[in-house]
Amino acid sequence: MTLLKSREAILALAILVLLAVVAARFPGFVRTANLANVLTDTSPLIILALGQMVVILTKCIDLSMAANLALSGMVAGLMNIAGVPLPLILLAVIALGATLGAVNGVLVWGLNIPSIVVTLGTMTIYRGTIFVLTGGKWINAHQMTDGFKAFPRTVLLGLPVMTWIMAAIVLAFAVLIYRTPLGRAFFAVGGNPHAAVYTGISVGRTQFAAFVIAGALAGLTGYLWVARYAVAYVDIAGGFELDVVAACVIGGIAIAGGAGSVAGAVMGAIFLGIVKNALPVVGISPFWQMAISGTAILVAIAFNARSQGPKGRIILKSAEHRT
């Protein structure tokens, strides 16, 4: 536990150092108002990283999250054009996202197909479906109603609604992960699937639940994304699934499952969010972002592997010495 705590402390420290470096070049970046903007801008990544976290905790991975987001966002846009009221749209995108997640979950649970194969497949299928739905047409700002676009940006108590939604989800996750049987089940299934079965936890059902949660969050984020950027087309959030995995890896979520924390996922996402927002400010071309997040992933996994310690190898080496 102290190890986990220290890992998050190190990540927090890394974020502070990053902020200090940026502030040295451009002090305005660390003003409260700007930091709030960065937080709002990073909200979709934080929400998706939490969804991805529960999936990774159960030894799976969901590469279809960005495609799910794009499809749900497009459906939200189409429903808006059709005149559906906003609360109904919100319910519909969450339900749609959860259904798309459930498709992944059923294939993983019922047919025992490795999640990476399932979600590689559904990723292209979901994104292709947007094209089939729209024929490749865009939904532009002028086609959306003002209420639809304004909701995530409405300011409540100093922060936009989108940021509050993110905060509520983070809180809900803290409760779900640390205070419910399902939360324990995620760790149990990822930590040792065989032991989980003997304690009465269904591995498949837990993985299914993780995919449904991740899908529902992707669906909700789909609406937030489309409303905030006021545009919907086939390629929105293209490649975003990798940013989400990157946020989790940087946040110390073990890709082999069973280890990770809500704070880690949130900070991993915030780290990437700060990098993305700081690059243009300090005068580095945004084209550097991809290489920087790649390097951050590699550093993070090398670091995580060190702190976990290669226990399996020591046994092998001592056996080698005996012979």
Binding site: G121, G128, V189, I255
Partner: protein, 328 residues
């Protein structure tokens, strides 16, 4: 993921002929023939040898990588950075071309960059013991990220005329250089995997890495070599693709890694490692090539084809499992 009881060991072996007839490769062959026949009825332009030869490029480059990826997946690893390696190789070649390097140097640089990228992946996975899926998700961003740093939104164009041979040249009649290379590499990889001790080691590692280690196989060295091999094959694919397109953009070969993995899995390589064959991958490459070409002749848009490829990927894995569940 529920723990299954040990598989019952049958008291007699399936006769070799029946085993060959009911194998995955035989099913793929039947599917390939069916698609070929269906395509030739669906479009009058399908059976033209020049059209077929032109269409072969839509699978040859990916298939070259798929051979190496198949061995990597059989050994229980994966490399998601292959498309980004192509981007980086192509960028290095482009930069050298601008500096005035002749074609042989360009090719060597392309292959060398692929080798270096593979060595980097291999070092992180085999040397440092990190999980290959996250390592290659990281290097996927890193390698392509370097291309974006170098190129931004610009492109390298104006490759020398003789460089065009690798992607556009013909060896004999309608046989393109890429098609000949594809056939040669298929043969080479088939021999490497199925007829050498190295190939046996790959299977052994994929089935039980610990047991392989105890039987004297240098597991990490084999893993490292497999990443090198995948890097070099990506370099070869980069030479062919760059030569065919005649330009380098940082977004070159985006999404190739998906199609390569799909090809490998469709070819009957178990994603969990330990089983599969090169003939299966060759047939899967042909099937994917025929499907995309046939649908292209019918004016089906690319993104709809990608739905079909995605569905194909899930279906080929799901159907046998469903079949087994129903049969039980």
């Amino acid at each position: 993921m529920t723990p299954s009881p040990g598989r019952a060991i049958p008291d007699r072996l399936v006769p070799p002929l029946r085993r060959a007839l009911t194998s995955w490769e035989m099913l793929l062959l039947a599917v390939a023939v069916a698609i070929f026949v269906a395509n030739s009825f669906a479009s009058p332009w399908f059976l033209d040898p020049w059209n077929l030869s032109d269409a072969s490029v839509n699978f040859t480059e990916k298939a070259m990588i798929a051979f190496a990826m198949a061995m990597l997946i059989i050994a229980g690893e994966i490399d998601l950075s292959v498309a980004s390696i192509i981007a980086l190789c192509s960028t290095v070649m482009g930069a050298a071309m601008v500096a005035g390097a002749p074609t042989p140097v360009l090719v060597l640089l392309g292959l060398g960059t692929g080798l270096a990228c593979g060595a980097f992946n291999g070092f992180l996975v085999a040397g440092m013991g990190l999980p290959s899926i996250v390592v290659t998700i990281g290097t996927m961003s890193l390698f392509r990220g370097i291309s974006y740093i170098v190129l931004g939104d610009s492109a390298f164009t104006g490759y020398p005329a003789d460089f065009g041979f690798f992607g556009q040249g013909y060896v004999w009649w309608v046989i393109t250089f890429e098609l000949a290379l594809f056939a040669g590499l298929a043969l080479a990889f088939g021999i490497l995997l199925h007829a050498t001790s190295f190939g046996r080691m790959v299977y052994a590692i994929g089935n039980n890495a610990t047991a392989a280690r105890f039987s004297g196989i240098r597991v990490d060295r084999v893993r490292f070599v497999l990443f090198l091999l995948t890097g070099v094959m990506s370099g070869i694919a980069a030479v062919c693709l760059t030569s065919r397109l005649g330009s380098t953009r940082p977004s070159i070969a985006t999404g190739f890694e998906l199609e390569v993995v799909t090809m490998v899995v469709l070819g009957g390589i178990s994603i969990l490692g330990g089983s599969g064959s090169i003939p299966g991958v060759v047939l899967a490459a042909l099937i994917m090539g025929l499907v995309t070409f046939g649908l292209g002749l019918l004016n089906v848009p690319g993104i709809v084809m990608s739905i079909i490829i995605g569905a194909l990927l899930i279906a080929v894995i799901a159907l046998p499992r469903l079949w087994r569940m129903v049969a039980k």
